[in-house]
Symmetry: C2
Subunit: 615 residues, 2 copies
């Protein structure tokens, strides 16, 4: 086929549908997923729209390579205006949802308007329908998923169809509610788009079908050749083995040994042996899963079967980031309370990273006597209670449900918020992994480790070893270039859609791989420069959303990152120099002034239609 | 005054009010509280009415002696049709609600119909109003109480006005949702009337006023004399001291030493040292409170300030029954998980006794492989999760929210239900305290230790020592008489309204005390026989509700009580003989046939108007 991106627009206010085909020219510019979502969001979501009002839209987008036997391509992106940050966000998840969505007959879904009653969307074999969700409303994410499967004639097995749902957190408009998507508790967590679903009274989406995507590949031989080349690379990667063996949490000990694993809201470090990937694997992991067609299969499912943190009969998906955020970040370093809290967050439908961030801010404010609450670092039982209170906006939970940034601002303690663009940070101290001193703060969705991941260089030395602490002019130049390059290629990864673990190793021919796959599949004629330009275009379009809103345009370092690391092997480091000097060079490289693309930059990227935003 | 019982009828469907005065003749027959509530419920709630439908009514009734300086009279009763048992129930609570209700200008409130939106009722200084509760809906009982206080200009102090609320359990129609009433987490727990409030979308009631009740007492001198006599008796009672020192949980070790403290759904016994009144007092209790004007002050407030069951900054009200039901009854004998679970239940608005009963049934069914759930006796963490799941009807919680009886019936395991009339038992094994072999199973609300409390004789030897294990003809005769006498006088206590701790010691002149107080206050001329007859009348009226419904008329012993106690000092005992022989004698004494009052009995009690129900 020529790649015509097929979307279904669902108007929840009027309960009407519209099928739409995105023409190939636009697909060539944005591919799908995050890129196409960002482009449409910029054009369609009115300036100043209430993120929790009918004008906000959600773009559930797969990508052109997802589901056509390209390994590790089983991801999709949700784009919309974030109730947490008040501006653009994107969030993606693995599992099978992306495949089932494409098999159902559509490459993407646009959710518009606002229903007056709880509904869910069913797209099955090309037919679509809004169904009554009044009986499912209120259910936690696991049972909501199973109920939707059952109601549509599927076995209660999350792999048999794609289901995305919200829990009570989303229903109750918790600003960092996530969307549980597909099998094994995967989450499009960040940015609070679960609350957007909640505001629209959309409890979930089920997708299923038998559309044969492979039939539409234009040059099968070339395509499989390109495919095999990528597969070979993945299999050769060391990370493939370690990710399969321990999951992402293999990072815990490595990062901590560098002094880059912050604890207690980035004020100290702590021992993490018992929450390491290795320890949890040996003592708690009961199953390992992979997404559709993925040779890595990194998903680790743990169980806690006894003791005060037992979770009855259910497996718990856990990751490095989640283990950190509700672990050391809030003073916990025992596996059982961490796993239990993870389960609670997953079931209630909270973005676990922001939950941890918010709890960390809460403890800091409480210990400073600003917030009236008896809580200390490591108070597992209290954190459990607070997770429930947040999800149900009960009592003090109503305040915490606004998130870490809002809390810190309310109590006039900006230092208690560790994040960027209103969103809290993940599990790497940017005073140590200094690539993140640039990457976190320039990330369009804010505080993000997945828009660019410099530790590939800094930690694994691939493609070459980079010293994260080198703040010489050359060192800064190098980090800035890595970040910019990585931001652009990851925008492509999120739009094609691929998994970043497939592209964890930024081989010099990454762009060429994409070009080969896309050209073979759709008869295109892209060069690796074209691919790089797509990434850059997407990244700029996202930034334009902030420019349009007049929000978060300037990139700013959080105040605590200017203070020295207080303990551990990286003691004494700050992120100030890397950020202050790097950001200037970064703007030059991007062709931006004060965080804003220039007219020339937009023209270079074929974004003339948005010139009025910057002039 | 002459005692004209002033009630406010609130029609939630039409949002209208009607003030009504119950004339003195009727007050003389039923007093108030439970008695008057039962009488009106029998007359007004149509046969077959859905307990969760608009036809059900709730009677929030104080009594004629409450609030006029009679010590320990600060209780009120709620009467209605129970969603748990499907027939008549009553439930009462202490604290200040009863006083504030009377001070507000009314002796009782009748809630009728069904609101379409969440509301709460405010009666302040004789003025009444239904207020929007949409912002309070969803809140747990503590914060709902504080929000209602604040909205009405009171400090956030539960003693400053009377507030009764439901939590999410009531909102979600959990069949054993309770009503948190007034200060310090007191509950009108049993029978699920919280769900009736939920079905009516009535989140709460606030009452406050300055009406001077004492002014209306006819013969002050006589009244204070009678009052002093009662006060003297209370102060002299040993139980006054022990109840003040340790609360009701002083019973734990005493009852267990007799082998009468059932564990694990009445299958065994267990060590309870660490959950004894003495141990908890020494290690966890931080405050002791009393109801308005009460010389006993039995309320114990505990805190758990560290560890995996910490409860942040909040005091926890706990009692003997609650400590047993979510303690040994479900295999727990450590104080911290028990206190934590108590707090969760109180906040979510669950009747704690039925929560424990339901969890006990659940564990038994799970261990038998009937219910698919990984749970064992003592699984504190799982019980916590299940409490949340029940309150929110989430997943398996939706099934458990129907209660222990429904669960046991569904899985065809009647032996897994320990109760009577569809309601689970409290903390005394009726195979050991054999008075309960009669009292539990003849109690009108089912499985109740507060309609008659034979342990006063059996345990404390007051007024005389009675051997609970004596199953000679004389022993059975004695127990039956104790139960019948106690049922009648406790019906008076619940209608006057008094606290049973004041009348814990069934002195032969208890009826005379009531007569003296009532005669002095209202210029009546009652004898102690008249008082006894009021009690008997009330007890019969309640039974007539079951007769009218054609439900639970026959008194039946739960099957496990026919099996011998398996361990402990009372090993080998059953309740069979006491029940089977006792029930015959009990029916004779009551003038009943097969659980049903005869026409002659009704005539003797002045209940001719209900004769058609039994003919």
């Amino acid at each position: 086929m020529n790649m015509d991106f097929r979307i279904l627009r669902v108007d929840l206010t009027n309960k009407t549908f519209k099928e739409e085909v995105i023409e190939e020219d636009l697909v060539k510019k944005y591919l799908g997923g995050r890129g196409l979502g960002a482009y449409l969001a910029l054009k369609e979501i009115p300036k100043g729209a209430d993120p929790l009002g009918p004008e906000n839209k959600l773009y559930f987008f797969s990508g052109p390579l997802s589901g056509i036997a390209t390994m590790s391509s089983s991801r999709f992106t949700v784009v919309g205006k974030s109730p947490l940050t008040g501006s653009y966000t994107h969030s993606n998840a693995g599992g099978n949802f992306s495949y089932w969505l494409r098999f159902s007959g559509f490459d993407g879904i646009v959710i518009e308007g606002m229903s007056d009653k709880p509904v869910y969307l069913a797209i099955i074999d090309g037919k679509y329908e809004l169904k009554d969700a009044s009986k499912i409303w209120g259910q936690w994410t696991g049972s909501a998923t199973r109920m939707i499967l059952k109601e549509n004639g599927f076995p209660e097995d999350e792999t048999k169809a794609g289901v995305a749902v919200i829990g009570p957190a989303g229903e109750n408009l918790v600003k960092f509610a996530g969307i549980r998507a597909s099998d094994y508790e995967r989450f499009a967590g960040r940015g609070g788009l679960g609350a957007v679903m909640g505001s629209k009274k959309l409890k979930g989406i089920i997708v299923y079908g038998k559309r044969n995507l492979l039939n539409t590949v234009i040059d099968r031989e070339k395509f499989f050749k390109a495919n095999s080349k990528v597969l070979e690379k993945i299999i050769k990667q060391d990370t493939t083995k370690t990710l399969h063996a321990y999951g992402t949490n293999v990072l815990m000990q490595i990062v901590n040994s560098m002094g880059a694993l912050p604890a207690m809201n980035f004020t100290t470090t702590m021992n993490t042996e018992k929450i390491s990937g290795e320890y949890i694997k040996s003592n708690y992991v009961v199953a390992t899963h992979g997404c559709h067609d993925c040779p890595i299969a990194c998903t680790q499912m743990a169980m806690v079967t006894t003791g005060p943190f037992k979770v009855s009969g259910e497996e718990i998906k856990y990751e490095y980031e989640s283990t950190w955020t509700i672990g050391p970040n809030i003073g916990l370093n025992q596996p059982e309370p961490v796993l239990k809290l993870q389960k609670i967050a997953n079931e209630l439908g909270l973005d676990i990273i922001s939950l941890g961030n918010t709890l960390a801010t809460t403890v800091e404010l409480a210990k400073k006597g600003k917030l009236k609450l008896d809580v200390d670092w490591g108070d597992a039982a209290v954190f459990q209670d607070l997770a429930y209170k947040i999800a149900y906006r009960e009592g003090i939970g109503n305040e915490l449900a606004e998130g870490d940034y809002a809390l810190a601002m309310k109590y006039n303690e900006p230092n208690a918020f560790q994040g960027a663009r209103g969103q809290g940070l993940p599990a790497y101290d940017p005073r140590v992994f200094k690539g993140f001193a640039i990457a976190y703060y320039t990330a369009n969705r804010g505080g993000d480790h997945l828009e660019a991941y410099a530790p590939t260089w800094e930690l694994f030395g691939v493609p070459e070893k980079t010293d994260p602490l080198d703040e010489s002019e050359a060192g800064i130049e190098k980090e800035v270039k890595i970040v910019k390059w990585n931001q652009d290629i990851f925008a492509v990864v999120d739009s094609a859609v691929f998994c970043k673990f497939e592209n964890l190793l930024p081989n010099v021919d990454t762009e060429q791989d994409f070009a080969d796959l896309l050209n073979a599949a759709f008869g295109w004629n892209m060069s690796q420069e074209d691919i790089a330009k797509i990434g850059e275009r997407i990244f700029n379009v996202e930034r334009l959303f902030h420019v349009k809103e007049g929000k978060w345009v300037k990139d700013e370092l959080a105040p605590r990152m200017r203070e020295p690391v207080s303990s551990g092997p990286a003691k004494g480091n700050t992120a100030s120099k890397m950020f202050d000097e790097g950001i200037k060079r970064y703007y030059e490289l991007r062709g931006w002034i004060d965080g804003k693309p220039t007219k020339e930059t937009l023209e270079r990227l074929g974004l003339e239609e948005f010139e009025s935003l910057v002039s």
